[in-house]
């Protein structure tokens, strides 16, 4: 025991001692020091604040080469690359600017400066996406152009990118792909907003780095950074929503001591049934959830390690339950609300653990992440202690990437990623929808990013994938069913950036093998209210996408237009039949030969010179889809036009808000539907909000008060899973969000070497 203690102390001491790197942040125009600027080490997710005289100190161990993000109020932020030995009395100049429309950011998902990226990446902080507070992370992501949210009531929402969702979208949390039975339209995204700081969306089949099966795109979630070195930060937050009497209470705790950093987050959510504009409540749309997240970061010289753990559990009522073929209104709606647990119910619990290692060499970077996800999904239909279905999905995944940064003007990435998966049905469950199986997936890829001159960059890449599913035999079968798939995919793109203009063209392919649920389903999916039948004859889906974007930006205006065209061979869809089994409509998994998706997104951000306090942001999304016979495709999102106006009052008075926001979202008509699918009429949603800043000597925070759907519009989103039952989305909803944070410097007695 004594030896372990001594060893632990030595280990901590080893991580605690480090050189002190320092410098000054100055104004580029007058060489005056800038007080309280932030100097952030991107590789370590930590950093320091400058003192009043503009000096900073980084008492941590650094890799040989680091990227520093330097920002200050009234200045354009800068991302600089610097060798650590230069970081002694180092001077960083910043250019004055009264406005910053788009920060120079390094993409978390690709590691490339976003402005130089050849693919279309849209990056937003969660704070930007929740200027008007949202109920769920899925709703917040739905504010990004080209992205929608498919929902089952308030509790379940999952992202839709360019008309695709579920297995055609990959969601990554800090480099680990989330595996949580995402084939189900009613199985949510699997993570909540707890501790999430930034969302990056790669649209379309253009990400070789994150799997060729992401035909629709990739959502990359980045957890909150650690606090400043030698600091402690604690916060509490709370949100209340009037419509569903919903609350979310959470806390965070961050501690950073030289080369060891720790984050802890937790929250609890509870919502009663939500109210529709007619003042009735949607029965059993209630939900409860808890989540806890922890992260431990360490670094020594050129090594950076992060260990992360999350546990998320949700009890989600499934609204729209009825035993009648023509639903009775009294089964679907009630005059009173409740949060008491009732049936049907989905209980979804997931443990995530990941270990990330990064090694920084002179001209290259090696990153390796090992992760384990254990997801337990239970759906209760008629009995509260015996699940209708219960499946445990365990996934062990790896993700390795070697980024060689400089071979003349080229950088090369080699990588491998894959997983080992098992799905096991509980013997306690009444039925089996997806059979017991094991699956393996392995992919290797390489990308070459080249900078040909000051303006032109290219990126080409190739990726090979192997997938195997071993489906366990049933009583009446003699052997397991084994399904093998393999594919080769490519990506090629060019970007041309000159002065205020940037052009990007990207052509890429993707492939998705049929999931066993599509091949072998044969049972009731309670939450979807369907009897699903799969087909072993399904072939893999193959996608090809051409994506073009043009961007204009100056100090006051930013404008992006991003048209695309995508063709998918063997597109899998659910076809309704006239049959009923076990009281549910029977649906078959089928394929189209060719399916075309095309459309575009446009975003606009204007900050008028004559009124610096005003921001106008707008985005428009349009998508058209058809098969080779010109027939419509089901569940294609409505056109969307979103406009957000924010006005910074910059008041120092405690009672006057810091900013006001008004957001209008127009969803156009969707009349291109398949047989048995109901068209959707256009509607408009208006939201308003006011944000206060709280600042005292030791306490900082924010207070948000606002209202969503302020005109109480009666609408059903085209992507709502409750649409076939005529169940409306929530009516008017007032919210209050409070966040309080204490940040303290820790006294350190350790001497630097």
């Amino acid at each position: 025991m004594k030896k372990i203690l001594i060893l632990s102390v030595l280990l901590i001491a080893q991580y605690s001692f480090s050189q002190d790197y320092n410098g000054t942040v100055i104004d580029k125009e007058n060489n005056q020091s800038i007080p309280f600027a932030s100097v952030w080490v991107i590789e370590l997710n930590t950093g320091a604040s400058c003192l009043a005289n503009g000096t900073f100190s980084l008492p941590i161990s650094l890799p040989n080469v680091v990227h520093l993000k330097v920002s200050a109020v009234g200045y354009s932020s800068a991302t600089i690359t610097v060798k650590k030995e230069k970081l002694s009395n180092f001077t960083i100049p910043l250019s004055p600017s009264h406005i910053e429309l788009q920060e120079m950011e390094i993409s978390t998902s690709t590691g490339i400066l976003e402005n130089y990226s050849v693919t279309s990446i849209e990056s937003k902080t969660l704070a930007e996406l929740t200027t008007i507070s949202t109920t769920s992370l899925g709703q917040a992501i739905g504010n990004i152009s080209g992205v929608y949210s498919n929902s089952t009531g308030n509790g379940i929402s999952k992202p839709v990118i360019r008309g695709m969702s579920g297995m055609r979208i990959s969601t990554y949390l800090n480099g680990l792909k989330i595996e949580n039975q995402q084939w189900g339209g009613d199985h949510g995204i699997g993570v909540d907003a707890l501790g999430i700081e930034k969302v990056e969306v790669i649209k379309g089949a253009s990400s070789l780095l994150y799997g060729s099966d992401a035909l629709g795109g990739v959502i990359y979630l980045k957890e909150a950074e650690y606090t400043e070195s030698n600091h402690l930060e604690a916060s509490v937050n709370s949100q209340f929503e009037s419509n569903s009497l919903g609350f979310t209470n959470g806390f965070s705790f961050k501690l950073a001591k030289k080369n060891i950093r720790f984050n802890l987050f937790g929250n609890q959510t509870s919502h009663a049934d939500y109210q529709i504009p007619s003042e009735n409540y949607v029965f059993n749309s209630r939900f409860n959830g808890q989540a806890i997240k922890a992260a431990l970061g360490m670094n020594k010289n050129n090594w950076v390690g992060n260990i992360r753990y999350s546990f998320i559990t949700n009890e989600l009522g499934i609204p729209g339950h009825t035993h009648d073929s023509i639903p009775l209104q009294e089964d679907l709606f009630k005059e009173t609300t409740s949060r008491k647990k009732t049936l049907p119910l989905q209980v979804n619990s997931t443990h995530y653990i990941s270990a990330e290692n990064k090694f920084f060499f002179e001209n290259s970077e090696l990153k390796f992440t090992l992760g384990y996800i254990s997801n337990d999904l239970q759906e209760f239909e008629e009995k509260v202690t015996i699940p209708g279905i219960e499946m445990k999905l365990n996934t062990l995944s790896y993700n390795g990437m070697w980024n060689i940064k400089k071979i003349k003007n080229h950088s090369i990435i080699f990588g491998a990623q894959g997983n080992f998966q098992s799905n096991t049905n509980s013997p306690k469950a009444e039925e089996i929808l997806l059979r017991n199986l094991s699956a393996t997936s392995h992919g290797i890829f390489s990308l070459i990013h080249s900078k040909w001159n000051e303006f032109t960059q290219t990126q080409i890449g190739i990726r090979g994938d192997l997938n195997e599913f071993d489906i366990k035999k049933q009583v009446n079968e003699t052997e397991n069913i084994t399904l093998n798939y393999q594919s080769l995919n490519y990506s090629a793109g060019i970007s041309y950036t000159r002065k205020k203009h940037a052009f990007r063209v990207n052509i890429s392919s993707g492939y998705r093998p049929p999931h066993p649920i599509e091949s072998l389903a044969n049972g009731v999916h309670h939450s979807s209210r369907r009897f699903e039948i799969g087909s072993l004859s399904l072939k893999p889906e193959y996608a090809n996408q051409l994506d073009f974007s043009y961007e204009y930006s100056n100090e006051h205006l930013s404008f992006i237009v991003n048209p695309y065209f995508s063709v998918i061979r063997n597109y899998v869809y659910l076809a309704f039949t006239d049959s009923i089994s076990n009281g549910y409509p029977v649906v078959n998994y089928r394929q189209n030969h060719l399916t075309y998706f095309y459309g575009g997104e446009a975003t606009f951000h204007y900050h008028p010179h004559f009124l610096h306090n005003l921001h106008l942001e707008s985005n428009f999304t349009y998508l058209f889809a058809k098969d080779e016979n010109q027939n419509s495709i089901s569940a294609i999102p409505q056109p969307k036009l979103m406009a957000l106006i924010t006005y910074d009052l910059k008041s120092t008075h405690k009672l006057i808000p810091q900013s006001l926001a008004i957001q209008n979202t127009y969803f156009g008509e969707q009349s291109r539907v398949i047989e048995n699918e109901i068209p959707t009429v256009a509607y408009n949603l208006l939201d308003i909000g006011a944000n206060w800043k709280i600042k005292s000597k030791k306490l900082e925070g924010s207070l948000k008060i606002g209202a969503k759907n302020i005109f109480n519009s009666d609408y059903i989103n085209h992507l709502s899973e409750l649409k076939p039952l005529g169940i409306q989305n929530p009516g008017r909803n007032f919210y209050v969000t409070l966040n309080l944070t204490i940040n303290q410097k820790i006294k350190s007695n350790e001497k630097n070497n």
Partner: protein, 70 residues
Amino acid sequence: MKKITNTALIIAALSMFSVSCNKKECHECHYEKDGAEVELGEKCDSDLETLEADGIDVNGVNYEVHCHEH
């Protein structure tokens, strides 16, 4: 400072506890006999599980038991 650290750790520990602890689960149960619902009252935990799994025997006839409001 020590107070802040301790408070934060207590909040964290309590939250962890609230996530992991199992609450007692009770529900009103009934079975259907001759088209009418026969109430069995509130049943909890193992009693509830047994009733749902095995049903109830009344005069040599086994009836399926339901323990939820819908």
